[in-house]
């Protein structure tokens, strides 16, 4: 009798555990085509320039990176108030790149800046001009990415997500191989 009770208890515990696992798995695999969550910080709150600069990682992360410099990007210190703080920017970027990248990056940095893209001054299907535009640049350092156009191709790279520092919109991404 004791054995039966013990077995029943074990099954009950196991059932609760496995149902929890299933719920978690469903939640983690059923996010295709789900609209991106709104970022709370994009509401009416405004991050003051001082606090924005304090929470930002150093601009030098970008300005001293030759890969960044070689592709026509320019950044300056952000001196104006923005609505998105660093936490919200990283959250937004994480949603965009997915868990495969956000959880496996060797490190993640987030730099607030006035951003200029000399190669793509105006985004397609947009009236946004990327000249001294207030953004967060969230960089996933040391990630493995899929190449498009080549069977079996993966690359060890840095991926940068450029996020509108006020609306939270992902404006563009750029990624480059690293040695």
């Amino acid at each position: 009798m004791k054995k039966i009770i013990a077995l029943a208890a074990a099954i009950a515990v196991l059932s609760v555990f496995t149902v929890s696992l299933a719920a978690g798995a469903f939640a983690s695999t059923n996010n295709n085509n789900v609209p991106e969550q709104s970022v709370p910080a994009t509401s009416e709150t405004t991050t003051l320039p001082d606090s924005a600069s304090l929470s930002s990682d150093s601009l030098n992360i970008l300005t001293e990176n030759t890969n960044f410099q070689n592709h026509g990007f320019e950044v300056k210190a952000l001196t104006e108030a923005v609505k998105l703080d660093k936490t919200a920017a990283v959250k937004k970027a994480n949603e965009s790149v997915g868990k495969q990248i956000s959880t496996k990056a060797e490190s993640i940095t987030a730099v607030s800046a006035k951003f200029t893209d000399t190669e793509t001054p105006v985004l397609p299907e947009s009236n946004i001009t990327l000249k001294d535009y207030p953004v967060w640049i969230v960089t996933y350092h040391g990630v493995t990415l899929q190449k498009q156009g080549m069977a079996g191709g993966t690359v060890y790279a840095d991926q940068n997500v450029v996020i509108d520092a006020n609306s939270g919109e992902v404006l563009e991404t750029f990624s480059y191989s690293i040695k």
């Binding site: 196991l14 696992l21 085509n33 965009s96 790149v97 793509t120 985004l123 498009q148 191709g153 690359v155």
Partner: protein, 222 residues
């Protein structure tokens, strides 16, 4: 014993959804042409395919050396995106040079002209006639021996762009010849599965066995 078997069955059923759904491969559906060239161009319809977690789906025009070096432009949707984005990308081996940029949002249902081409010094990437990026040919000095026009997925569960009722059109395929004139590109389906298929049996197309300059691709499950 029957209780134990029931427990194992319960575990198997419950744990099955935990299977990793990250990308698993590289699957192509479209056409190519072997020809010395200075660029490739095509008009591709944008659609918003269903994508597995951490995977991506794209459609593009590309000039390449047929093995490991290329330059391409088109649209791409990653699983974290709610809509496709324009992109361009290049790769050069053996130097390990790789760069990818995604831009703005590509509206589903729109038909856009994608062109990747070069002059004597520079490769450019154009969308609807506007250049969105360049790279020096000295950075990617590969022999341009093929043009390719494909839809691409990375997981068998990804939707190849297009459905039975609404296939993705790929038309007006061209290449820039070595005299630097853009000419019509009659392309062929390279699939080992045979005429009308891509790399997966669910990837379908209507590329003529005698070659096509325009065609449709779709996923037979949708």
């Amino acid at each position: 014993m029957s209780v134990l078997i029931s427990m194992f069955l319960l575990l198997a059923v419950v744990i099955a959804p935990l299977k990793a759904s990250a990308w698993t491969g590289f699957y192509f559906n479209g056409a190519w042409k072997t020809v010395s060239n200075n660029g490739a161009a095509i008009t591709i319809e944008t659609q918003n395919p269903t994508i597995s977690e951490d995977s991506s789906v794209s459609a593009w025009a590309m000039t390449c050396n047929g093995t490991d070096s290329y330059a391409q432009v088109g649209w791409v949707k990653f699983s974290g995106y709610t809509a496709p984005k324009y992109f361009y990308e290049y790769n050069y081996e053996p130097d390990g040079v790789w760069y990818q940029k995604t831009l703005g949002t590509a509206t589903a249902g729109s038909h856009n002209d994608f062109m990747v081409g070069c002059d004597s010094t520079t490769m450019y990437f154009k969308i609807n006639g506007i250049s969105y990026g360049t790279v020096s040919l000295s950075t990617i000095p590969f022999t341009r021996s093929m043009v390719q026009f494909f839809g691409e997925t990375h997981d068998e569960d990804d939707q190849c762009p297009g459905s039975v009722a609404n296939p993705v059109t790929m038309g007006n395929a061209k290449y820039k010849n070595t005299s630097n004139s853009w000419v019509s590109a009659t392309c062929y389906n390279p699939s080992s599965l045979g005429s009308g298929y891509g790399d997966l049996s669910t990837m379908r197309n209507n590329i003529s066995t005698s070659g096509s300059t325009e065609w449709e691709i779709w996923d037979s499950r949708y």
